[in-house]
């Protein structure tokens, strides 16, 4: 029993933001030796110990609005600590099970390190633009000469060819470009983006599959590969059914929360709850009624005689009078506990679920019983819980969770692994090729 399915596979992940690092995290969870390569500016600079920042922290402790930069970084208890570049929850949740190397590839020493990384690794993952990759010397044409067996996966927004190949993007931009933002929205309303930068995990998961398939093929043929992974394409790929429909019918997919093969279906308000420091939060339940039998069961439980209206007996009738039914259901759910109601409906074989918040996910008996919620002691941060690995193997233990590396935290160990001597490493450190702090700290 071992969780190290990819034992012996070395990956260099030179990624920013979310998509590229997610590929590294998935491979690291599977047991690959993932080296996270960063520039010393990768995690931002020093947070100024300014009066404004201290005031914001004081506000936070009083339960008032937090300065948004602090919220975005998700520092533990809102405290950046002495090394904020190493304590941001948004970084640490994404970079577990990796080793950290911080090197300036533009120096001669940096180029030596990069070449040895390429020669001694199986996979390189990056999400630089084509122009940026070439200027750093990490492009496939360069690295294949040093290691013809290398798998190079480049996760760009738009891909390495085509008229938009130099365009820059973040996830929300790709939602817009892939038709997803326009298709998502309330009935009669404008476009809506997802609550997180959804194209990033879509791209990162596709990238992970591409790495594994390319590795498998390489082991059979001995030949490496370049995978030009356009996040626009992977995001459009999860709308393949909608795009095919549109190509023939030229009408946008329906909006809102209803279904095309179930009625009623909706998101209904329940009793408010207190989950964090706010006095109350809006809470909701989802109900889907697939057929007449489910409708009859639902009607019996709801017990409102208005739902017995003969107009609602058929699926077509329920579609026609959906607004009216929604109103009755909303009145019924409004003062109920969403979790108890969902349990009651599921017990009657009715499709229903509470709408889960992030707090619910972290406390979910379903996720906890399955071992999805994990925790580790992050140096300088402390012991906190995180979302875990989403794949369960009957023949392998759950992945061990090693903390995310500090910036350059494994510089010496990695350089030693690459065959550099102690003296050479000392030169790399003194000439600034290796770093373990952002610029502007420690007198530099």
């Amino acid at each position: 029993m071992t969780s190290s399915i990819l034992d012996g596979v070395r990956v260099v992940e030179f990624g920013y933001a979310w998509a590229g690092p997610l590929v590294g995290r998935m491979l690291g969870d599977l047991g690959a030796d993932v080296i996270k390569l960063e520039q010393n500016t990768a995690r931002g600079g020093k947070l100024e110990a300014s009066a404004e920042l201290q005031a914001a922290l004081d506000d936070w402790r009083r339960g008032e609005a937090v300065e948004p930069t602090l919220r975005a970084s998700v520092f533990p208890e809102g405290r950046p600590g002495p090394e904020p570049w190493n304590s941001a929850g948004i970084f640490n949740k994404l970079n577990r099970n990796k080793r950290g190397l911080c090197a300036d590839l533009k120096t001669d020493s940096g180029r030596r390190i990069w070449r040895r990384l390429v020669e001694q690794s199986d996979v390189i993952v990056d999400n630089f633009s084509p122009r940026g990759a070439r200027s750093l010397g990490i492009d496939y044409d360069t690295v294949r000469v040093w290691n013809p067996r290398i798998i190079s996966v480049s996760c760009t927004g738009f891909g390495h060819s085509g008229p938009f190949r130099q365009r820059v993007s973040y996830g929300p931009v790709l939602e817009a470009a892939a038709g997803a933002a326009a298709a998502t929205g309330y009935i009669g309303g404008g476009p809506i983006k997802m609550g997180h930068a959804f194209p990033d995990p879509i791209g990162g998961l596709h990238g992970t599959f591409a790495v594994l398939a390319a590795l498998w093929q390489r082991d059979a043929t001995g030949e490496g590969a370049f995978v030009d992974l356009s996040q626009l394409q992977t995001y459009a790929a999860v709308s393949g059914d909608l795009l095919l429909e549109t190509s023939l019918h030229s009408q946008p997919p329906p909006r809102g929360n209803r279904a095309r093969d179930a009625a009623p279906q909706g998101v209904y308000r329940c009793r408010d709850e207190q989950q964090d420091s706010r006095p109350s939060l809006d809470m909701w339940i989802v109900v889907t009624i697939e057929d007449d039998a489910a409708w009859n069961r639902f009607r019996d439980i709801a017990g409102d005689e208005r739902l017995g209206d003969r107009r609602f007996d058929t699926s077509d009738g329920r579609v026609t009078h959906h607004d009216e039914i929604d109103q009755i259901i909303s009145e019924w759910t409004r003062d109920q506990d969403r979790t108890q109601l969902a349990e009651r409906l599921q017990a009657a074989d009715i499709t229903a679920l509470p709408v889960l918040t992030n707090a619910d996910l972290m406390q979910s008996p379903q996720l906890r019983e399955r071992g999805f919620i994990v925790e580790w002691d992050q140096p300088g941060v402390g012991r906190y819980e995180y979302g875990g690995f989403p794949i369960h193997f009957s023949g392998h233990a759950r992945p061990q969770m090693h903390p995310s590396p500090g910036l350059g935290g494994d510089n010496r160990e990695i350089c030693t692994d690459l065959g550099f001597t102690t003296e050479e490493i000392a030169v790399f450190e003194s000439d600034g090729t290796l770093a373990n702090e952002p610029p502007g700290v420690g007198g530099r």
Binding site: A181, A183, L205, H206, Q233, L242, G266, V267, L281
Partner: protein
């Protein structure tokens, strides 16, 4: 058990796809896109996916866009594998298979797993469900919308003054599908070391929960609930939003200081570039209404295409908000030969082809199979005799 080549390539991998949900069907499609041989096995009455909306026809024979898209590059076998005549033929298929992918409900999936893997040590079974094969919700019913609710994405998407909003497609199912495909590939690597297959249990709920940007850590690190923020990027960062222009909307994402400065220059408000009131992403987020009031008159003079071009010329991430119709004729996707053309569906029909090109990827498009299109050929290739195949077809357990 057949001989498994020591190091087979992708083309030597045999995948049996029993899925009738998006998740498993997409996992199998990805294997096909990577060059594996994928056989869809559906009942003689047709997979439930063939009736899944959106439908391309309003009368029989029904054509489902989801089925036609998700089944591309697969071979089709119509076989009642639970009936006595069909079981033997199905056994031949599984004997050759490396991976079987299912989307059965929990109890059925576990019983199936016990039955088929007990006699085939090499076989990998990838199960994709909404909640997973264990835990208190394992037997619960689900829909695309409950998958959104379980994912934590529903609560954070939409207008804070209104009900939470689902995404336009069954994307939780797709995310579970990619995750399941990763699990299947990983199990192949594991089998290479151990010689044994295993059960790979993937849920839409966990796949989506592990696809959160920061909200799970927001709770564990700060005890805060993440809310809907309409088109703003939740707790911080600005500008990241959708903005109206003369012919629709553009998305602008300029959270870094350099991007903000470039945005100010592109929009003709250079005096804001070094205004300390907007000096950090956080300050800009708190001033979002003021920024919107200043940007919108400038942006409204441009079309979507003009705005995207001007902003990209200034290295500001931006795109027109395109409708699905417009995506179908997008010059970038056209230039990258992204589309596949299922000719049997009629002239204008097109859909995404390969999400990415691997050395092992198929070179020619193969449309979704008609019901039972490859039944006889596949069973013959799996070692069934002509007499056995004829018996299966005559009994009604198979169809071609």
């Amino acid at each position: 058990m057949p001989d498994v080549p020591e190091l087979p390539g992708m083309a030597e991998l045999c995948i049996v796809d029993l899925s009738d949900q998006v998740s498993g069907a997409y996992a199998a499609r990805l294997f096909a896109a990577a060059g594996a041989e994928v056989t869809l096995v559906e009942p003689p009455t047709g997979s439930a996916l063939r009736r899944r909306p959106p439908l391309l026809t309003s009368s029989e024979p029904l054509r489902s866009a989801a089925f036609e898209y998700l089944s591309a590059w697969k071979r089709g076998v119509a076989l009642d594998w639970e009936s006595e005549p069909g079981a033997a033929a199905f056994g031949c298929l599984l004997d050759r298979a490396d991976i079987v992918i299912s989307t059965m409900p929990t109890a059925q999936a576990l019983e199936f797993d016990r039955r088929v893997r007990s006699r085939r040590e090499h076989l990998i079974h990838v199960s994709a469900t909404s909640y997973g094969l264990s835990g208190p919700w394992a037997g619960w019913r689900s829909s695309d919308l409950t998958d959104w609710a379980a994912s934590g994405y529903l609560y954070i998407t939409g207008d804070p003054a209104r009900e939470p909003l689902q995404g336009a497609g069954p994307w939780a199912g797709y995310v579970a599908g990619v995750t399941a495909a990763v699990g299947g590939m990983a199990a192949l690597f594991a089998r290479r070391a151990t010689g044994r297959g295993q059960l790979v249990d993937v849920s839409a709920m966990e796949s989506m929960a592990s696809s959160h940007q920061w909200s799970l850590a927001l709770w564990s690190h700060q005890g805060r609930v993440k809310h809907r923020a309409l088109n703003r990027h939740a707790e911080a960062h600005y500008p990241i939003s959708l903005f109206p222009v003369s012919d629709g909307w553009v998305c602008i994402a300029a959270p870094t200081l350099a991007q903000w400065v470039n945005l100010c220059i592109a929009c003709g408000i250079p005096e804001w570039a070094d205004d300390p009131r907007f000096g950090t992403a956080g300050l800009r987020y708190d001033a979002a209404d003021e920024i919107d009031r200043r940007l919108e008159p400038v942006l409204s003079q441009w079309t979507r295409a003009e705005a995207a071009q001007v902003l990209q010329d200034h290295h500001v991430p931006a795109s027109a908000v395109l409708s699905m119709d417009e995506v179908l004729v997008d010059e970038q996707l056209q230039a990258r030969a992204y589309w596949a053309y299922p000719e049997a569906l009629g002239e204008p029909a097109k859909m995404p082809g390969l999400p990415f090109q691997l050395p092992s990827s198929p070179t020619a498009f193969r449309p979704a199979p008609s019901l039972g299109e490859h039944t006889a050929a596949v069973l013959s290739g799996a070692g069934c005799s002509a007499v056995e195949i004829a018996a299966v077809l005559e009994s009604g357990a198979g169809r071609d």
